[in-house]
């Protein structure tokens, strides 16, 4: 059964048709590469799933129930987590503080509740261990490598029972070795039955880690097929428009 299903989704801003009649479904434990040129509608599509925008037309269903999101917090409550392109990290805080930002653990009663540093360090450490990332919860994010920063941002998605993780260009600005690290993090999420939507410009990454690739061009979905039955050449053709559409 699909964890998320989009039916005939469209979004326009005034006269601009950003997303046009897109339908797709995402299965649990599946990594879907979402590709397309700048302005193809990837970000708009993802922002609708993340609760930033409301679709102009069409419906979204999650676990067979209609999904209507007014703001990003509601998406999170439904188990949709986003790893933003800029990672949304505070350099002046520790890794654990960043993981728990906005959902800090506290102990005590009533108005006398204080931050539970010990519990947050412990749980953040466990998540980093699960992700096989050498990231210390007590270190400031300022001093961290690109791969570690990705791990902190991804660790956020593992605090609650996420069903879908949307990742916006997670490998755009990091070194080759760190890219491998991030792709491993994505596999870990997948192995736990979490669906991952990977928005990327980087063909090798998508073909390395994704099970399926969806290509968008000018607001329309022009391809949606298993990675095994596609090729980088075909996807490039679809992105540029050299190939019009494939089934």
């Amino acid at each position: 059964m699909a964890v998320l299903e989009l039916t005939n989704i469209s979004k326009h801003f005034g006269a601009i048709q950003a997303v046009n009649d897109v339908s797709l479904s995402i299965e649990p434990g599946q990594v879907v590469g979402l590709m397309g040129d700048n302005g193809a509608g990837k970000s708009t599509l993802v922002k609708m799933i993340a609760g930033n925008f409301r679709p102009s037309h069409g419906t979204m269903r999650m676990d067979d129930k209609e999904l209507i999101l007014h703001k990003p917090v509601e998406a999170r409550q439904h188990g949709i987590e986003i790893v933003h392109q800029d990672l949304a990290l505070c350099n002046n805080l520790t890794a654990a503080a960043n993981v728990y930002l906005g959902r800090e653990l506290r102990r005590g009663v009533g108005p006398f509740r204080i931050l539970d540093y010990a519990a947050m360090y412990k749980r953040a450490g466990q998540i980093f261990a699960e992700l096989k990332s050498e990231t210390r919860p007590r270190d400031l994010v300022k001093q961290m490598s690109g791969g570690q920063r990705q791990a902190v941002a991804i660790a956020r998605t593992m605090l609650s029972q996420a069903k879908i993780v949307l990742m916006d260009e997670p490998t755009a600005a990091i070194s080759v070795r760190q890219v491998a690290e991030v792709l491993n993090l994505i596999r870990h999420l997948r192995d736990q039955g979490i669906a991952v939507v990977l928005i990327s410009h980087r063909m090798p990454d998508v073909f390395d880690v994704a099970d399926r690739v969806i290509v968008m061009r000018r607001g329309r979905k022009v391809a949606d097929k298993a990675i095994a039955s596609s090729s980088p050449e075909e996807v490039t053709g679809l992105i540029t428009g050299a190939i019009e559409q494939v089934a």
Partner: protein, 332 residues
Amino acid sequence: MAVTLDQTIAQKQHTFLSRLFSSQTFWVVIAVILACIFLSFATDAFATSKNLYNITRNITFVAIVALGMTFVIITGGIDLSVGSVLCLCSMVLAVTMHAGYSIEIGILATIATALVIGAFNGIFIAYLGFPPFVVTLGMLSIARSLAMVASNNTVVFQFGPDHNKLLALGGGAWVFGIANPVLYMIILALITGFILRWTKFGRHIFAIGGNEHAATLTGVPVKQIKVAVYMISALSAGIAGIIETGWLGAVTTNLGNGMELQVIAATVIGGANLAGGVGTAFGAIVGAALIEVIRNSLGLLGINAFWQGTFIGGAILLAVLFDRIRNFRRSD
């Protein structure tokens, strides 16, 4: 393999000492202590109980406002209106009590005034997107003018039926001969330190200063928190105003003139970063202490008072220089 990974994750990179030595506040404390030791030997007047009483009390007014300013500066904002707000609050207290109301009503009116001004600043900054510098610069002008309106630009020195209570509140020394304002400062510093380190609110303030966009994306109520910090800043100015009124026994419309710069200097010397994300309650107090010790010592050493600004300015630059040097080393 798994064991080594766990060990790596559990490792603490910073010991207590390394953290201490890398903190700007620590070095400012050392500077204050060295200055005090030097002055005790160099002058007869410094280490007398009367002078120490004066110094500690003089520190408090700037320090209390600096505590409130610390919240604002950690979020990456600035509040230039504190000196004028202090004046307006003192004047509201003086005028209310002069009109025959009790001290309780006077204090309530003062606190309410402070909170309304803080909310005004905060709403313009957080919801209407005005730059903090501009809004609080406007308030600097407005609040002082309102103080003049409230008092008709006269000096108020009679505070009605509760006159003596007010003077005792600000000028007394109820515990162990420590000046009352010093006690208030210590209590407020402890509360500030607690909020910054142990509450969700405090954590969110640091997050906003570190990366406001990230704080918004992760669901931190950025706008409400910004309004709150400007209210806290104005409140601290109001509290300092009440205490200073009680201590001075008179209010003029000159009170707190130029104080905002001393307060900002104190927070910056104490280690707060005007770019946001860094600052402590202890730092604000220590910064205020260093400024006061410099001022006091120049007088005692017989150096022309015109040099004061040079020394305080030098202290600001020196304190931040330490921070820069540390960062250069780290970026290497």
